[in-house]
Every structure is written in C-alpha cells, then in structure tokens.
Amino acid sequence: MEFQIGTEPVADGEDILLMPSDDVREHLVVIGNGMAGCRAVEELLARDGTRYRVTIFGAEPYVNYNRIMLSPVLAGEKTFEQIVINDRAWYDDNGIDLIVADPVTAIDRAAKSVTARSGRTVHYDKLLIATGSDPFIIPVPGKDLPGVISFRDMKDVDTMLDAAGKGGDAVVIGGGLLGLEAAHGLTLRGMKVTVIHLMDTLMERQLDEAAGWLLKSALEARGQTILTGANTESIYGDGKVEGVRLKDGTEIPASLVVMAVGIRPSTALARDAGLAVNRGIQVDDHMVTSDADVLAVGECVEHDGNVYGLVAPLWDMCRSLADGLTDRHSGYRGSVTSTKLKVAGLDVFSAGDFSGGEGCEDIVLRDASRGVYKRVVVKDDKVVGAVLYGDTADGGWYFDLLKKGEDVADIRDLLIFGQAFASGGGALDPKAAVAALSDDAEICGCNGVSKGQVFACISAGACSLDAVRAGCKASASCGSCTGLVENLLSVVLGDEVQSGPKTMCKCTSFGHDDVRREIVAQGMRSIPEVMQRLHWSTPDGCSSCRPALNYYLLCALPGDYVDDQQSRFVNERMHANIQKDGTYSVVPRMWGGLTNPRELRAIADVVEKFNAPMVKVTGGQRLDIFGIRKEDLPAVWADLNAAGMVSGHAYGKSLRTVKTCVGSEWCRFGTQDSTGLGVKTERMTWGSWMPHKFKIAVSGCPRNCAEATIKDFGIVCVDSGYELHVGGNGGIHVRATDFLCKVATEQEALDYCAAFTQLYREEARYLERTAPWIERVGVDYVKSRIVEDDAGREALRARFLFSQQFMQDDPWAERAAGQHAELHQPLAPIAIAAE
C-alpha cells in the first residue's frame, strides 16, 4: 500500500512533541484518533477554536480515517487515501498534537495524566476517552493461530489483502453486517469464501427471516457458501490456521479465518482508572464520566443504559460533548436509530422493533422477481418497525413516521407502497415531499443535520447552497443530500434562492471561484489534496476539473507546485498541437513576429527532413509546421532549438504571441517602435500559463495594423505615448477591447501589461478568456485594480514577474534533451506475421 503525503504512517515512538509547553490554555487530551475522537474535536473547534490546547493519542499508525469505509477498501472500490477524514494538514492547521502508533496504557486521575506504551506521560486538564470498541473473539481452541484475524482496522484489511493475494479459501465467522462485508470483499478479491453464522438467518438483528433468506440467496448466487445455524467448535492448524471445525463435525479448510461476530465497548482503560463502567463507560448527557474532568464518547460509552454501534448517535454525542466543553447546554437525550446499509452491494434498511408480538400487525410486500421485500410493523395505528430489502428508498419516510409516532390509520392501505402512493398517488413533487418531512427528519447523514437545522440556517440568512454548507454543514461532505438541501432552499425562499456560480464539473458541487479561494485559504498543495478536502465525488476527477485544478495550483504556488502532466490536455503534454489525424503541428516562437535567415533555414530543413506536408503562417504571425508524428517531435524540437528557436506555446492555455506592425522603424505613419516593444513584451510574458489562451498585439499607430483592439491585451502607439486596451478577442464572439488607460512610457506599458496579465491569471475561471471575464466582472473593476490602485498594480506586477522566473524554461529543450522520452515511444511492438 502506498501512502501519499499527509497520510503516511509515522514510525512507532516518533517523538512529536513532548516539550513542556508555554501554552497556558487548558489541555484537552484525547485517547483515540478514530471517528468519535476526531469528530468531537471538530465539533469543539467549530464552537471555540482557541479555548483548548489539544493532543490526540492514536493506537494505529495513521491519521483519522473512516472506519466504516474499510469494506470498500477491502473490496478494492476505494483506496486508503480516499477514506482519510482528516489528513496531517488538518492537525497542523488546528494546532493539534497527534501522537500515533502509541496507545495509552494508563490513566492516573489523581495526577491528571496519561501514560502511553512508549512511556511518555502527558498531563491533562480535560481528558476525553474515545477508545471505541474491540472485536469480540469467541474463545474457541485455535483462536490465536496466525491467520485468524478480526475485521476492525487497516491492519486487518492489509492482512486480508495479503491472504487474498495468495488465493485459496477463507472462512468468515459471523453473518452480521461486518462479516458479510468481509466475505464480499474477499470474494471480490478472488477467494473462495464460506460464512459461518450461529443464528438461523443472516443479520438477524437488522433483518427478519424473510429478508435474511433473500440476502442469503443473493450471496449464494455470487458463489459464497453460507452456513446458518452453524456452531464453531474449534479452529485447527499446525503453526498456522488450516481450517474450522463445526460442532457437527464438519471441517472447512481455510488459510484465513476472519472473526466478525461482534464488538464490545473498549472499557479496560477506564475500568483500570476506576471510572464507573457498566456495559460501557457511563456518561451523563454531556458525555461526562464519573470523574468531572474525564469525558467519553462513541462506541465505548453507555448512556442511559444504551450502547451504540452506529455513526449517527456518535455525531449526536459529539455535539453534546462539545456544547458541554464550551459551556453550552444541550444535553444528549439518546438516539433512535435506523440502519440503512448496502451489504455487499444489496440495499437493506431496518428501523425500530420488527420482532412482532402482542398487538402488532405486519404489512408485507414481496416481489420475488424484482428481489424486493418490505415489511412494516404497525401497532395501535403507529409504525413501530420496518424492514426493507432491495428497495430502501422509503426508509427515511418510514423512520420519520416511526419517530413522530404519527397515526397512520388513514394511509394504512397504501402504507406499504411507499410515500408517493400513501400521500395521494403518483409520484410526489420532490419539493412537496421534502416540505412534508418533520423538523427532526435527517437531511444530511454525514453530518447529522436535521431539516429543522437546515431551516434555521436558511432563516438566519443563508440563501444559497454554499451558505447552507458553511452554516450548518448539511451537504458539505459526501454531497448525496445536495438535492434535498436545494429543495429545502426553494421551499423556504421560492425564487430568491441564489443559484450561485455553476459548479466546476459534476465531480464537485463547488464553483470555480470557491475552489480557487479555498486553495489559497487552506494552503492546499496538490490535486489529490483539493479533491479530498473539498469532497470530490470521483476518485480522480475528470478531464474537465483536473486541468483546471492543475492550473489553479500552479498559479497559486509559483515555483513550488509540482505540475501534474497527466492533468494536462495532450497539447500541453506534447508541447505541440494535435491535429485531426493524430499528428501534431509545431510552432517555434518568433519574437514579435521577427525572423531571420538562420531560423527560416532551420524551419525549411525540418519541413524537408520530417516530410511535413504543410507550413502555414498563423494568425499570430508565426510559422506552423504540420503533420509531425509524435515519435518525431523530440527530434524536431532539437533541430529548432539548435537554430536558437524555442517553443511558441501555440498549443497552450498560455501566452501565445505578441503580434506587431513595423512601427516607426519603417512605416511612414508609425509613431513608436511597435516591433521593439512587441519583442520586449513577448520576452516578458512568454511561457506563462493562463486560464485560457492569451494574445497580445502592439500597433504602431491608430491605423492598428497589428489588430491590437481585438487582443487580450493591446497596445496602440500614439504620438504622445501608449494607449492600453484589454479584453478583446476574435473568437466565436468577436469583441473589441475596452480602453484601459493611456501611459507615457514603454516601461509603464510593460508594467501595466504585467499587472493586467496577473490579475487575469489570478481571478478568471479556467477556460474563461479575458473577454467574458471582463464582461462578468466589469471593466470598471479592472480599472480599479490596475489604473486607480498604484500599490495594487505594483504588487500584481511583482507577483507576475516572480512567477515568470519559474516559467520561462523552454519545454522543447527539456524534452529534446530526453526528458519523458518514453512518452514518444511505443512500449513494445507486436509482429502480426508470426500468427
């Protein structure tokens, strides 16, 4: 497994910080770097980011990851990087000291300190125990043999992947959710899997018999062997696991045994420290244990007699805990839970009590051919339980009816057909559907945000999706509830919803401007980091967002950012223009449109040597050599380089050409040396990457032979100086420039050009040329930044020149010298004749 920056394991015992701190704030020490511990810290920081100094101890060598997502990692659907919740930068940015691979082994409540395995001791003012739960290992002979593991952390996944790599048989003990997920992953990885389950039906805590049977059939159809009512007697093997023996004498050979029979709160540490522990660590409504300075949260706690193993209650607890730590009062009142799962790709939902009993009536729908089963349990005209298999779309609705205790007598006949039918037949208007939800209906599962909280956020002034995300976190994580949030916005605000800028692409719900702003604000340094932090919905983006992100990072971090070649369009990767037949055209730079016999000879030689079928003068006054094969590009560049020519960047989202007329040197009407200024301008700006292609022209008089008034930046020389024009183009929509200002000297013309270029580079959206950009922001805005703000202009100019020192390397020279030579060569030839 490879780890990227920010998620790398840290060596055991690495000394991260044990220096006495001069930080006088109260010290919060967190035992447990998992979902509960980190979430509690996140909630705390959201309320008061400065009150506590925070240290987190983790037993595993990783940053905070989403344990629920281990199954997709095992199944090969996600990588470890994709399940990281908070990377290194999050800890650093929030001043959190993270100590990993060093489990805490003792708590000394009298001294108010904790001691870890390495021996390091840290004093606390407040202690938070978030040790989660331990896998339950059934005490059968052979349980300690090598090859017998649980399914709980990243190490278990690695062990399973290793075993799967060798092929063979696996036994999973436990037919609950975790066991079935492990079995699914191992099956996908090519192992022959047998699931041993003690009870008669799978997932008996979530599913009734019928649904369990459907699930069993579906899994068997995928090649798994499912043994229900099967009691494990022992695990056998000589030195390592070789198989499992059941009480009835059956032996199942296996090179890997995964024990997934359940979890129990991890309470040993708390118990040893003398805290009140029952099934879990006992806590009050603010997650405070029997010691006022020790708190506990997550799967390790018991609240009001209940122990939870699901995520939603955990979020509720973390909120109450953070409220308590910051003197707020909203105690935890326990959670009613529902389970909506994808088990091995099959949809399963259950909520409430579906065991039946006195006074309970079952309403059941079976559609075997569709693989759908629904059962709603009603008591006294109220929904008390529901089990859905195969189609779980209405799970939220049933759960909502259950929590509200709503009288369903009127809709009973249609209840089983789901919300659309029961609410009046036909498909519901989605807005009406969301309007009909109760205030405490959950909208955002990732962040545990209810409809009421979203409403409150909108009432407080949020009138766009982004504002809701910023305000209450709804839709700010996986984004699957974005549609719901949008419907809520339009229910409350009607037409006043601000749609905001369009999203960059379908991989994200953020717009270009948001992404650019966040890159700078959060100091993000790579494309994977942006995708992770901004919750991209695709593993590695698409052909639309990746080039944009590559450019935004390049612009934000000149000289620092490592360009991602695979996120560049082929032209920029090949430093030439791809043509319709897959060959390329090559344009050498001719400064200001000038050339000489040596360059012309070199071009002529290249044309002959490589059989280029056509040479053409471009619109930007350069020569374009067509029909060059990918394999020949390095040799073409080498020959042109030898004559002193460099890449014209005619292929890039970059400065292309500076077009000129002959100006005062030859022309009867020329007022200034437009050719000379053109050369100077091109020398200053060449090589710079832009949101889109960028063209400059310098005309020597108002006759404007260089067509400067349809360029991104145009200079028109006049007797008294230089008129500067911006935002023109001759593209699909021809646009003449806006007049920016007039300056007196060549140097000023160059300075304004640099400043304008940088403003465009920093603020336009990728693939937005200057013309639409200026129409969007207004020319007055551009004037306010370039003409009216001398210091601002100077700063922009300085930033442009600073970034230029890293950009003015000829890409042709690097490639001609052999860099990435393999990209021009085939991997291997395959001869056909031998067949």
């Binding site: 990588t79 593993p539 590695d540 052909s543 695979q566 085939p826 991997l827 030839p829 395959i830 056909i832």
Partner: protein, 111 residues
C-alpha cells in the same frame, strides 16, 4: 489456450496515463494505467473520429478523447453519456509486475 505477450512493467506507464503498443505496421493498441493501478487495453482509436485515445486524460476508469472530448469507458471501450460507439478492447493482465496482453485478440483487432 491464450497466448500472452509480455509488453513491459506497470512502471513503464505513467499513472493516469497510457503507452502505445505497435501491432503490425498500421495499428496501435493503447495500454492504460488508471489511478488505482489497474491496466486496460483498447485499440488506439476513438469510435468517433479515430482520435488517439492514448493521448487523452485518464480519469477513474475512463479516458477523454483528445480530439473531441468523447469519454470512453476503459473496461468496455464504449462511449459514455449521450455519445455512442465502441472501441475494441484487448484482454490484458498484470502478473508479477509484468503486463501481459492477449496476443490472439490483439492480432484480431488489428487486422
């Protein structure tokens, strides 16, 4: 029995990129390596206007054709979204770090 040809190692192909394999004198096969290190092989031609798919941007298990931005699924060779068309796929596998390509299929699609 399938005849597998060793064409190189995974490291020879850039992640989220592709290399070509020349087959006979005329045709090319594009061999892709995705972000999660899976390997796929397609005839190096977009079903639309024969764009060299090996030069496209690889994202997820798809590639965007460099000529007109059609998105092609690497596994099936099929055009995605509103476009339709299909590029022939060639069986390819990784074994012990080597990339092996199914010779009979490769020769057939190149013919």
């Amino acid at each position: 029995m399938t005849d597998w040809i060793d064409i190189g190692t995974l490291a020879d192909i850039p992640q989220r990129g592709a290399r070509t394999v020349q087959i006979g004198d005329e045709k090319e096969i594009a061999v892709f390596r995705t972000g999660d290190d899976q390997v796929f092989a397609l005839v190096n031609e977009c079903p639309h206007k024969k764009g060299p798919l090996s030069q496209g941007i690889v994202h997820g298990h798809s590639v965007a054709c460099p000529l007109h931005n059609w998105t092609i699924a690497l596994k099936t060779g099929e055009a995605q979204g509103a476009d339709s068309g299909c590029t022939p796929t060639i069986a390819v596998k990784e074994e012990g770090g080597r990339i092996l390509i199914a010779r009979p299929v490769a020769v057939r699609v190149a013919a």
